[in-house]
């Protein structure tokens, strides 16, 4: 096929039927002196091509080409596609907003009865109009904090191990293992917590309360203030639930942190090594400052999951509707466990009260998650890790 053939073919295609559909580049004849300045402006605006076109081209009578309109007519398939895509987006937003609005509206009737006291009342009996989430929210937060105390050091160490120490096939295997663990159902963690961990951890809890009991939160005392030592006082506590939830959130945290650490620039790492740093020195001066956003973001994502965790907590704790500062002692509560516990027997109004509790929980996790993602997105380790 010679060059000429190719051109001929192109001409055929274009002149056949296709070309009429496209907007042609329109060429305006330069209309003399009075238009010259105007033309020049336009051409310069179009990107500087032929910037002084109006001034020089008047001799041959053709001015600079008018900038071609970049807007194109949509084809039918595109219109359909965009409409469908838009509809999908709108449906998603519709579902999500429906959940939010429905919760808010239904929660409204309970909130209007309880008022601001909803946040400070510990009891939960909507039938007698005295109900509030002080105790359950306190329990939720204690469990989540214990979970963080367990999870964050493990996640940080594991993330550093995976990004700095282990290499090759072992690393990719362990990374997939972390991801797999994030997908293990929470009921499995709950089973393990109830049937294995509870018995194994009680001696530890007893030991802590005996030797560190002078710190108020580690003390375990009865109603009369006497120190309790029997094992039954240590079951179903916030401590045990916190450990189980902590193990559940570690994979999430570790994978976010590892992602941030592994993006630490190689040049800075090598610079640290070239200055004589040990591996830990390099980690402390390069990797940790670089991955700070990832550490904070991962921690908060884990916190968000820990706050919303239901079934493992529900299986382990024995529900209690007073604030229990002694984390090792039997009895605590959480918002999600409260919902799981009371939804079945709830009246219309009781359900509204539960919705209010769920709404508060949702708002808290929402704030935590958005803070986390904005911290990660603003950090040096970049917006891509989330």
């Amino acid at each position: 096929m010679t060059d000429k053939d190719v051109f001929q073919t192109i001409d055929d295609v274009f002149l056949d039927d296709g070309f009429d559909r496209f907007e042609r580049t329109e060429v305006i004849a330069g209309s003399g002196e009075e238009n010259a300045g105007h033309e020049g402006d336009r051409a310069a605006g179009a990107g500087g091509a032929g910037g002084s076109g109006g001034g020089t081209d008047e001799g041959d009578g053709s001015g600079a080409p008018r900038p071609r309109s970049l807007a194109s007519r949509r084809s039918t398939s595109d219109t359909v596609f965009q409409t469908v895509a838009f509809a999908a987006g709108a449906t998603t937003v519709g579902i999500m907003l429906a959940v939010g609005l429905f919760l808010s509206i239904r929660a409204g009737s309970a909130l209007s009865v309880a008022g601001i006291g909803f946040l400070f009342e510990q009891q939960w009996s909507p039938e007698t109009q005295t109900f509030g989430i002080a105790a359950v929210l306190f329990g939720t937060v204690t469990i989540a904090l214990i979970a963080l105390c367990v999870g964050v050091p493990l996640a940080l160490g594991t993330a550093l191990l995976l990004s700095e120490v282990v290499r090759g096939k072992l690393r990719s295997f362990l990374v997939s293992l972390v991801d797999l663990m994030a997908a293990v159902p929470s009921i499995v963690f709950g089973l393990w917590g109830v049937f294995f961990l509870q018995a194994a951890i009680i001696p530890v809890a007893e030991w802590i309360s005996r030797y560190l009991g002078w710190i108020p939160i580690f003390a375990v005392t009865g109603d009369d203030g006497a120190v309790l030592t029997e094992a039954s006082a240590f079951t179903s506590s916030a401590f045990i639930a916190g450990i189980v939830v902590g193990l559940m959130v570690v994979p999430t945290q570790a994978s976010v942190m590892r992602e941030a650490f592994s993006q630490a620039p190689i040049g800075e790492r090598e610079g640290a090594f070239a200055l004589g740093a040990t591996r830990w020195g390099m980690i402390r001066t390069v990797v940790l400052p670089f991955g700070r956003g990832g550490i904070i973001g991962g921690t908060m994502l884990g916190l968000g999951r820990a706050l919303g965790e239901t079934i493992a907590v529900y299986m382990i704790i024995s529900p209690l509707f007073t604030i229990n500062w002694q984390v090792l002692k039997t009895g605590t509560n959480s918002v999600s466990a409260l919902i799981a516990l009371r939804y079945g027997e709830a009246s219309e109004f009781g359900l509204s009260a539960l919705m209010a509790a769920g709404l508060v929980l949702f708002l808290i996790t929402l704030v935590v998650n958005f803070t986390a993602s904005s911290i990660v997105a603003r950090s040096r380790s970049g917006a891509e890790s989330l």
Binding site: A85, L156, G157, L161, P185, F195, W280, I311, Y343, L351
Partner: protein, 443 residues
């Protein structure tokens, strides 16, 4: 051969730059001429050293530990085990397995620091201790997580060998009946139906929304993305509560598999949207631009370029979302209802699923029911594990990366395309050409 372009010794701020530059240019020209006319046999400016006859020693390992370092670990470990056993067995009033581990670990750290500091400075000691802490965090975490799974599988293996466990329902089986009667077929079927309905809604809606976010864009798309991100924070129990209050109480007035599927959908949809969004963002922009440059419409670009490129990632996103959806108990707890009977109609009557069945089994104090609970949990874990492995096998690659087989297929196809385009077009051109003698054509 190195030429140093010296400046004049008294080069100060008042030196005539033009003069300097001319001189430098002259020197450069001279160098250039010399290089150009160089005798080819003369050794060049850079040469490869002759290694003929030079002994090459064995390659030095840069990652191996010296014997000294290995001894430090082994010695510290032996010392720590001995010390803690001594403390727990004879001297101290300490008991318990976990306490033993804690003491042994602390003793190991102490001994190790001591041994390392005999030979190295403080920086080295810090480095070693940090490495030990990182490795132990990893060992504790992986140990605990693997132990959780293995523990469940082991306790579940009591019920798993019974074939009836997979082929019967609990309809005619009471809490006291042995494991040879009753099974979880109804829960398996329930899980499949519920996740099937949820996927039938989630996959089209989620992926289309992700396509909308990436390919259409605009202010509304940013709003959609924000809302979807916000909904990933929705606690699953709240999703269940929403469906309970909005669908069960207001519309159907009974718990059903459909309601459970709706709860799972509300929970899974943001996960799938977010994961697909990330995958679609990874599709290289130049593929899209190449497609647009060929004159295609947006729809064809999405269908023929973007989605095929991101296919493996999208499949992974969906499968991982499915694994999360299958394992969630709390939305199902409120919506599906508990039953021991097989129910294949999602729109009427309670329909139990695997996680809820686990929860229901272990509420009973009977050992056989607890064994059944662990068996069900083992089935659930194996299901999630299988889904995960399938996802890894499909989606281990990034967007657009092909396997060898796919690459060969693509090459073959493009060769076929080339033949088709050139030969067919030639033929068509020859038959259609109005001018038998194109050389004369002025165009």
């Amino acid at each position: 051969m190195t030429t140093i372009y010296e400046t004049t010794p008294d080069a100060g701020p008042d030196v005539d730059l033009d003069d300097d530059r001319t001189r430098l240019q002259a020197e450069l020209d001279e160098d250039f001429d010399r290089e150009l006319n160089r005798d080819p046999d003369e050794p060049a400016a850079t040469s490869i050293p002759d290694v003929e006859g030079v002994e090459v020693g064995p390659r030095r390992g840069v990652r191996t530990a010296t014997l000294d370092e290995k001894f430090n670990v082994v010695g510290a470990l032996a010392g720590a085990l001995a010390l803690s056993t001594l403390l727990f067995g004879w001297i101290g009033p300490l008991t318990g397995v976990i306490g033993w581990f804690v003491v042994a670990f602390l003793a190991f750290l102490g001994f190790y620091m001591l041994l390392v500091s005999l030979r190295s400075d403080f920086q080295e000691v810090k480095d070693r201790v940090a490495t030990v802490l990182m490795v132990s965090a990893g060992v504790i975490l992986f140990g605990a997580l693997v132990f959780i799974v293995v523990y469940t599988l082991t306790r579940g293996s009591e019920a798993l060998p019974f074939v009836n466990f997979f082929t019967e329902t609990m309809e005619l089986t009471g809490p006291l009946d042995p494991l040879s009667s009753g099974g979880i077929l109804h829960a398996i079927v329930g899980t499949l139906i519920q996740i099937g309905i949820a996927l039938a809604i989630t996959i089209p809606l989620g992926i289309t929304t992700a396509v909308f976010l990436n390919e259409v864009g605009g202010r509304f798309a940013r709003f959609v993305r924000t809302i979807a991100d916000a909904m990933t924070a929705l606690p699953s129990i709240v999703a269940g509560l929403f469906v309970y209050a909005a669908i069960i109480q207001l519309v159907t007035h009974q718990r059903s598999g459909f309601a459970a599927a709706m709860a799972i959908t509300v929970m899974m949809l943001p996960i799938v949207i977010r994961a697909s969004d990330v995958v679609l963002r990874l599709v290289p922009g130049n593929l899209r631009e190449a497609s647009y440059a060929l004159g295609t419409t947006r729809w064809r670009t999405v269908w023929h370029v973007v989605l095929p490129t991101a296919r493996s990632g999208l499949v992974t996103a969906v499968i991982l979302g499915t694994a999360r959806g299958i394992g969630e108990t709390s939305p199902v707890l409120l919506t599906s209802g508990v039953t021991a009977v097989m129910n294949v109609n999602p729109f009427s009557g309670p329909m139990i699923s695997l996680p809820l069945q686990v929860f229901d089994f272990v509420r009973s104090p009977e050992p056989t029911m607890i064994a059944r609970g662990f068996g069900t949990a083992a089935v659930l874990i194996l299901l999630v594990l299988t889904l995960f492995i399938v996802a890894r096998m499909i989606g281990g690659k990034g967007a657009g990366q092909l396997s060898d087989r796919q690459r060969r297929a693509a090459t073959a196809e493009s060769i076929r395309d080339l033949h088709r385009i050139t030969m067919l077009d030639d033929r068509r051109y020859l038959t259609r050409s109005p001018n038998p003698n194109p050389e004369d054509d002025p165009a």
